[in-house]
């Protein structure tokens, strides 16, 4: 990417806008914002090439707090707006900030289409399993039975597994992380940046007002080690306070085994492979079994040409075949006649 500003090393300050952050005290959004602001300075292009696009929701206020180009759109449409930005100027580094409602309910279609196209856009999906901004209705990731403003007797909609949906749509990079694991979150943001094409990062995010603690099992010190397994390419799935447990495949079915009691060793465990889409789907569906730890990390990272690169290629090809367009000739078309 062309460097158009003198790049004195950037810092977190360069990415903090002058607007007061207006999220509730204790909201997980603060951490997500901070991690992004921390990682962006590392990226190797001028600040003016960053663009953040969002829809509507608490999470969608994200662009206002980043001192980069930003557009706070309408509910659910961020992936489509972002697609226009990216296609108009493929040099831009385009990020989408969205919520489980914005990105998966009203905006689900734009999301899956953007992912299948492999448009070079990075998605941060703030999943708090609730509609925050509208004060607490269930979202498509809310849990069965959850009592919310619109479900006094509990949710009856089985939730999407966002990772699974993205895989089904053909996404090339799919990952999951958490607001309360800053290092890991930062790493996922880096992975997104460095990916060619669409990157879909689901972030477990605590809504301290309407769904407090939804992810505490995975995010809090006491329980995290026993309930989260970190995915690393080429590494076995080991977890537990003392790395004493692992995930093993029984057929296609993952199961937890102890690698401390001698029956199984680390060599028996499932080894993660980011290039294997099927494995990613198995990992995504571990969610159905409460006995299994929740995988965090990059589920899959595949290489495929980006949509914008193919569009640019077609234009180049047309030009090499027919030359740069001549407007006067175009207006004249194939058949003209002259009246004197």
């Amino acid at each position: 990417m062309a460097e158009t500003t003198a790049t004195a090393k950037m810092t977190i300050k360069d990415f903090q806008s002058d607007q007061d952050v207006r999220w509730c005290p204790g909201c997980g959004d603060y951490s997500i914002l901070a991690q992004v602001q921390r990682v962006f300075p590392e990226f190797n292009h001028p600040k003016e090439n960053f663009v953040a696009i969002s829809g509507i929701g608490c999470s969608s206020r994200f662009p206002y707090y980043m001192d980069i180009y930003g557009l706070h759109g309408i509910h659910g449409r961020a992936p489509a707006i972002a697609s226009g930005v990216k296609l108009a100027n493929p040099k831009l580094d385009v990020w989408v900030a969205t919520g489980d409602g914005d990105g998966l309910s009203i905006g689900g279609n734009h999301m899956i289409h953007m992912l299948r196209r492999n448009m070079g856009i990075k998605v941060l999906l703030f999943n708090n399993q609730i509609y925050g901004l509208t004060k607490g209705q269930f979202s498509p990731t809310s849990q069965m039975g959850q009592v919310t403003k619109s479900t006094p007797m509990g949710v009856i909609d089985p939730p999407f597994i966002p990772v699974s949906l993205a895989l089904g749509a053909g996404a090339t990079l799919v990952a999951r992380t958490m607001d309360r694991d800053p290092k890991h979150l930062q790493e996922m943001v880096r992975r997104a940046e460095n990916h060619q094409g669409s990157a879909f990062i689901e972030i477990y995010q605590n809504c301290s007002v309407f769904n407090d603690g939804a992810f505490f099992l995975y995010t809090e010190k006491e329980s995290r080690d026993d309930h989260v397994v970190y995915l690393e390419h080429g590494k076995p799935l080991v977890f537990g306070k003392n790395k004493e447990k692992g995930v093993r495949l029984n057929g296609f079915t993952p199961e937890v085994v102890s690698i401390a009691d001698g029956k199984y060793s680390v060599n028996d465990l499932l080894v993660h492979n980011e290039k294997d889409g099927t494995l990613a789907f198995i990992l995504a569906n571990m969610i159905h079994d409460p006995e299994l730890p929740r995988p965090m990390g990059v589920f899959t990272a595949l290489e495929r040409p980006t949509y914008e690169s193919m569009m640019v290629q077609q234009i180049a090809k047309a030009r090499s075949k027919r030359g740069e367009g001549d407007l006067q000739k175009l207006l004249e078309g194939d058949e003209t006649w002259v009246i004197q």
Binding site: H72, G73, A80, S83, G84, N109, A318, E324, G325
Partner: protein, 615 residues
């Protein structure tokens, strides 16, 4: 046998057949040939919503009407002089618009029991006397076509598919037009893939032509001289193509890349198809997953500095409603071309109508004013698309350009403009971080600056929440909201200072002003011309600019006793006119999915003025 050659001033021909019979192709070929000889013309393709409804049925009939002449041709004709009917269904569904004494050319081979039944006919119209007042020519088109190809070893289906060229050839002969244009076309279209098919089509075309020449049935040929059009280089152009070219031209003149976000919908899809062809102009066409993504991707592209457009028809415009509001508050340039069709809902998707006007002008949540302009003829779609782009970037606003199915698919000769003569479209992107304020306004146009990502130092955020004047930060301040609503409205109203005064065709004052907009131009002009010829004091004003109206419009009304507003809707422009100018304008509304008929407008005019003298 020596044949007579008669010169006609104008003639209207309608080709009609099954959807699979290639009537649209036949019509287009005839049009191009006629156009190239310098006649003025207007066309009206009229086809069903089904792709290829079962052969022989009435609802499967596809028609193509062309009027051409050495005179000023304003409409494709209320009635036609010649009807070419490829089967019984085509005959019965179209004969009503043939003038008394008109000519019918039928493919008599198609008048078998099966086809008569499919057309719900109990008797054969060729034999039951029902066509007595016409001049009927029974031609064995199918048989002669087969004959021409007898030695070629083609399937019956293949042979059958060429028979439209027989009709075309015959019409070329009858109207004294050369066949070479169509020969060339056939060779280009089929020649590469299948030389045999090309050969067959050319043979049949010639067979039709020669049939006219040799048969004794036709004793007269007709000649239509070139029209007295202003000097220049001409081409024949369809409205949708013209709109596409208008956008490309505007982008070029503005020195911007053109981005189109669109989703296919009849009758607007051809603009997408056209634009997707011209990638060497750097045109980016994005066929989105739906209309909402189409417009929002265009908003994104506009934010990033492209000349962004989205094209659609009624139901698609409805879906874009929310996003149009976003474009209004973001104050980004955006061209929205809406090719109107019959509604409500899916309505009559392949038919024409003017019933999206109020939706375009006021159909959004909140106070979301935007500029609305409209095209009046197929070629005018070029001007209107171009003007929409010019206004959009000058005033930093979405602009809706309304055309309709009749304009989009209709064609007429177009005097090709010189690129250098096109209005300039100057664009300056903001670049100075010291003075930049996202919602500071140009004092003259009230436009805010266009500051695109990638510009160092101008990082800023915009969005759909109400914004503080000048800074553009989120603001919930009550007074600011009022101010911003008024400013957004004032900006759009101010466009009136940038557009020409409304012109009048005819005297500047009189008993009646007929006010129109959009595709009714030709029909109204014909009607008004006729009424004026009858001595009535009628003039015609045709609006291009609907929101805002031209500044002098109110003053014009003051000079006429009556104002008549014909529309292909239930009274939409009239609502805006009455609300704004408080004049008792009279409506004339025919909502039949068809262009208005000049005749009907004329009798309405007579009704009003006659009524007056009697009253």
């Amino acid at each position: 046998m020596a044949k007579q050659l008669k010169t006609l001033e104008e003639v209207t021909i309608r080709f009609a057949g099954d959807s699979g019979d290639g009537m649209q192709l036949t019509g287009t070929q005839f049009t191009n040939t006629v156009a190239a000889l310098g006649a003025d013309l207007a066309t009206f393709p009229d086809y069903p919503a089904e792709i290829r409804a079962p052969a022989g049925t009435k609802y499967g009939v596809s028609g193509f009407q062309i009027k051409f002449g050495s005179t000023d041709i304003l409409t494709p004709g209320d009635t036609c002089d010649v009807l070419v009917a490829m089967n019984p269904a085509a005959l019965v569904t179209n004969v009503k618009i043939l003038r008394d004494g008109g000519t019918i050319i039928v493919n008599e081979d198609a008048f078998n029991d099966k086809n008569l039944k499919l057309a719900n006919l109990s008797t054969n119209p060729l034999e039951d006397g029902s066509l007595a007042r016409f001049n009927v020519h029974r031609v064995a088109i199918t048989k002669m076509t087969a004959g021409a190809l007898a030695d070629m070893n083609l399937s019956t289906r293949m042979v059958d598919k060429t028979k439209n060229f027989f009709a075309l050839g015959l019409m070329y002969w009858m109207y004294n037009r050369p066949i070479d244009g169509s020969v060339k076309f056939i060779q280009e279209k089929f020649g590469k893939k299948d030389a045999e098919i090309a050969e067959a089509n050319v043979r049949v075309l010639k067979a039709g032509y020669n049939y006219g020449d040799t048969t004794e049935v036709f004793t007269t040929r007709y000649d239509v001289k070139a029209a007295h059009l202003p000097p220049g280089t001409y081409r024949n152009i369809m409205g949708n193509v013209a709109a596409a070219l208008g956008l490309i031209a505007a982008a070029k003149k503005a020195n911007l890349e053109l981005f189109l976000g669109s989703y296919p919908i009849t009758p607007a899809s051809d603009i997408l198809h056209e634009l997707s062809k011209f990638k060497e102009f750097g045109v980016k066409t994005f066929q989105a997953e739906d209309e909402i993504a189409a417009i929002t991707s265009a908003i994104g592209a506009s934010y990033a500095g492209a000349l962004a457009a989205t094209t659609t028809s009624g139901p698609g415009l409805a879906l874009k409603t929310e996003a149009m509001g976003l474009a209004v508050i973001l104050e980004l340039p955006l061209v929205i071309i809406n090719v109107q069709r019959g509604g409500p809902s899916t309505g009559l998707p392949t038919k024409t109508e003017q019933a999206d006007l109020l939706q375009a002008v006021v159909g959004r949540n909140g106070e979301a004013p935007m500029c609305v302009i409209s095209a009046s003829t197929p070629a005018d779609c070029f001007e209107v698309a171009y003007e929409a782009a010019r206004l959009a970037v000058k005033f930093m606003t979405p602009v809706i350009a309304l055309t309709d199915g009749y304009l989009g698919n209709g064609a007429e000769p177009w005097r090709i403009p010189k690129v250098s003569d096109l209005k300039d479209i100057p664009v300056t992107f903001a670049s100075d971080p010291k003075t930049f304020q996202p919602y500071a306004r140009d004092p003259k146009t009230l436009a805010r600056p266009w500051a695109i990502p990638g510009t160092p130092g101008l990082e800023h955020r915009i969005g759909g929440l109400e914004k503080a004047d000048i800074t553009g930060n989120i603001s919930y301040d009550p007074d600011n909201h009022h101010v911003m609503i008024k400013k957004r409205a004032a900006k759009i109203d101010g466009i009136a200072n940038d557009i020409p005064d409304q012109k009048i065709e005819g005297e500047p004052q009189g008993d009646l002003l007929v006010l129109g907009w959009g595709s009714t131009y030709g029909a109204i002009k014909s009607a008004v011309d006729a009424a004026r010829a009858d001595g009535l004091k009628v003039s015609h004003a045709h609006l291009r600019y609907i929101h805002p109206f031209p500044k002098n419009l109110g003053e014009i009304f003051g000079r006429f006793t009556h104002v008549l507003i014909p529309e292909i809707n239930n009274g939409q422009l009239i609502t805006l006119i009455r609300a704004k100018y408080l004049i008792p304008a009279i409506g004339f509304n025919m909502i039949k999915g068809l262009p208005l008929r000049a005749e009907e407008i004329e009798s309405k005019i007579e009704g009003i003025l006659g009524g007056k003298t009697n009253g």
